[in-house]
């Protein structure tokens, strides 16, 4: 159970003044819920996750996990990072067992429990390999196994599949859904991929940029396990896309200048404009 009440986060800037990453966000995530935060880059979704993880403190408002205010990182809320963050000096097994070791679990037991999680993510054959010997998808599986081995109430996933190729990502979506249905962990999932958010979550929260706020909430009422061809998903996806269009426009304008527009009748996107672009 995650409760965020009127949370704001302002960063001091080098040039002076503050930059408000998130502004007055209130949301509740129930036990066993799978919730995605969706938004363009720079909208503060990672900041929000860092607040829940305890890496950052709120400037205003409060973040509570299971009724306790968050004061720092802890093993009840394990984070799965975009860049896997496996320790390169440990094998997959040692990486997965690392958290258990910190809890003081004996070597034999922690290896058994780690192996169990490694089997869950289908990496048994690679348990004694070092992370650099694995492919991107395998690393991310190992990172998920490492998080699961801690048996946390809450999994915080910060764009975990963003760096993977499409095929691998689709497979991991399926596996994550299976794991979630089996373990019923509370999952807060950060992504900028609309499809990914819709296909995985119970609820999708669309964030607006500058400052980051929760703009709109979509409940995805589709049957589990999810089927990519399910028309409910397509409807939600379409609705999310519309909600996001304004935000994208804002981001693009900020980067390209005011005359740029990605809305209908986009003249600047004629194919003739990019002729010779590959030279």
């Amino acid at each position: 159970m995650i409760e965020i009440q009127h949370a704001s986060k302002t960063f001091e800037q080098r040039t002076g003044g503050g930059f408000t990453a998130i502004d007055d966000v209130t949301l509740t995530i129930g036990r066993g819920e799978f919730v995605s935060l969706l938004g363009p880059s720079g909208c503060g979704k990672s900041t929000l996750l860092n607040l829940v993880a305890g890496f950052e403190r709120t400037t205003q408002g409060s973040v509570q996990v299971n009724g306790q205010p968050v004061t720092g990182p802890g093993p009840d809320r394990v984070v799965v990072f975009q860049e896997h963050a496996l320790f390169p000096w440990l094998t997959v097994l040692e990486n997965v067992a690392f958290g258990l070791k910190q809890k003081g679990v004996g070597k034999k037991e922690r290896n058994e429990r780690a192996m169990e999680q490694i089997r869950t993510v289908h990496l048994s054959k690679f348990a004694d390999r070092y992370p650099h010997e694995l492919s991107g998808g395998m690393k991310q599986r190992a990172a998920i196994a490492r998080a699961l081995a801690m048996d946390p109430d809450i999994l915080l996933m910060d764009e975990p599949f963003a760096a993977l190729d499409e095929q691998t990502r689709l497979i991991l979506h399926k596996e994550l859904e299976e794991i979630w249905m089996k373990t019923r962990k509370t999952i807060l999932f950060i992504t900028h991929n609309i499809r990914e958010a819709v296909i995985l979550s119970d609820r999708v929260l669309v964030m607006s940029t500058r400052p980051g706020r929760i703009k709109k909430e979509f409940a995805v009422k589709a049957a589990r396990p999810r089927d990519a061809a399910d028309s409910v998903l397509h409807h939600v996806e379409q609705a999310v896309m519309e909600a996001l269009a304004d935000e994208l426009e804002k981001v693009v304008k900020e980067e390209m200048g005011d005359e740029y527009s990605i809305k209908k009748n986009d003249l600047s996107n004629r194919s003739a404009d990019s002729l010779g672009g590959g030279i």
Partner: protein, 222 residues
């Protein structure tokens, strides 16, 4: 050339060459262990606490530019003409390099490792240091170790030239007193060979192994 070989044979026969070599290596190892412990601890403090880095860290950078032999006169006054003085300056020679390279190593640890470790409950104390920071900084520290080893050798021989006891430096000095250039050359060669062997067969090998394990270099097989 032949004389040098003769000197080498004679030295081996009556055992003083071997004794001297072992004596030197013993001092070297003692100093080296001390400097690793002190250097790594200092490096960690520098990386961790800004204040320490700005004050003591600055002094260490300054000290690093002082040749360790410059401390020998002090060492002789403080400890006398004995082993301790030699070990002292050898340690000085290696410690600063060790401190600075482990500082760089720890500062260059990707923050994501520290975050990941914290979510798994390492806290920020000793467990974080030994289980995450030291191994993560290891490739950097390995380089520091090699340089520190070379510095230690130099300081050691220089110190032994002056201080008493059995060591390669003393033998070199004895050779000078006797005008025995053959023995002197023989010792210089021993020093060079020992340095090369220890570097190539120990440090280089360890470094290569580490780099492969950490995925920083490609192994022959993969």
């Amino acid at each position: 050339m032949l004389q040098t070989l003769h000197a080498f044979r004679d030295g081996l026969m009556d055992g003083n060459l071997l004794a001297a070599t072992l004596g030197s290596i013993r001092r070297l190892l003692i100093s080296f262990v001390i400097s690793i412990v002190v250097g790594t601890t200092l490096g960690f403090l520098f990386a961790r606490y800004r204040l320490v880095d700005d004050t003591i860290g600055f002094i260490v950078v300054a000290l690093q530019t002082v040749p360790s032999i410059a401390w020998l006169p002090f060492a002789i006054i403080w400890f006398g003409l004995n082993d301790v003085a030699v070990i002292f300056i050898t340690t000085l020679g290696a410690t600063w390099t060790m401190a600075l390279s482990s500082r760089t190593g720890i500062k260059n640890i990707p923050p994501i490792y520290l975050r990941a470790a914290q979510t798994m409950g390492t806290g920020t104390g000793a467990r974080m240091f030994f289980q995450v920071m030291v191994p993560a900084a290891f490739p950097h520290m390995m380089t520091g170790l090699r340089v520190a080893w070379a510095f230690a050798w130099r300081a050691l021989v220089a110190g032994e030239l002056i201080a008493k006891g059995a060591g390669l430096g003393q033998l070199l000095q004895d050779g000078r007193n006797l005008g025995d250039t053959a023995t002197m050359l023989c010792i210089v060669i021993i020093i060079a060979v020992l340095g090369t062997i220890s570097d190539a067969y120990f440090f280089k090998r360890m470094e290569d192994k580490l780099l492969v394990r950490y995925g920083l270099a490609t192994a022959g097989k993969s």
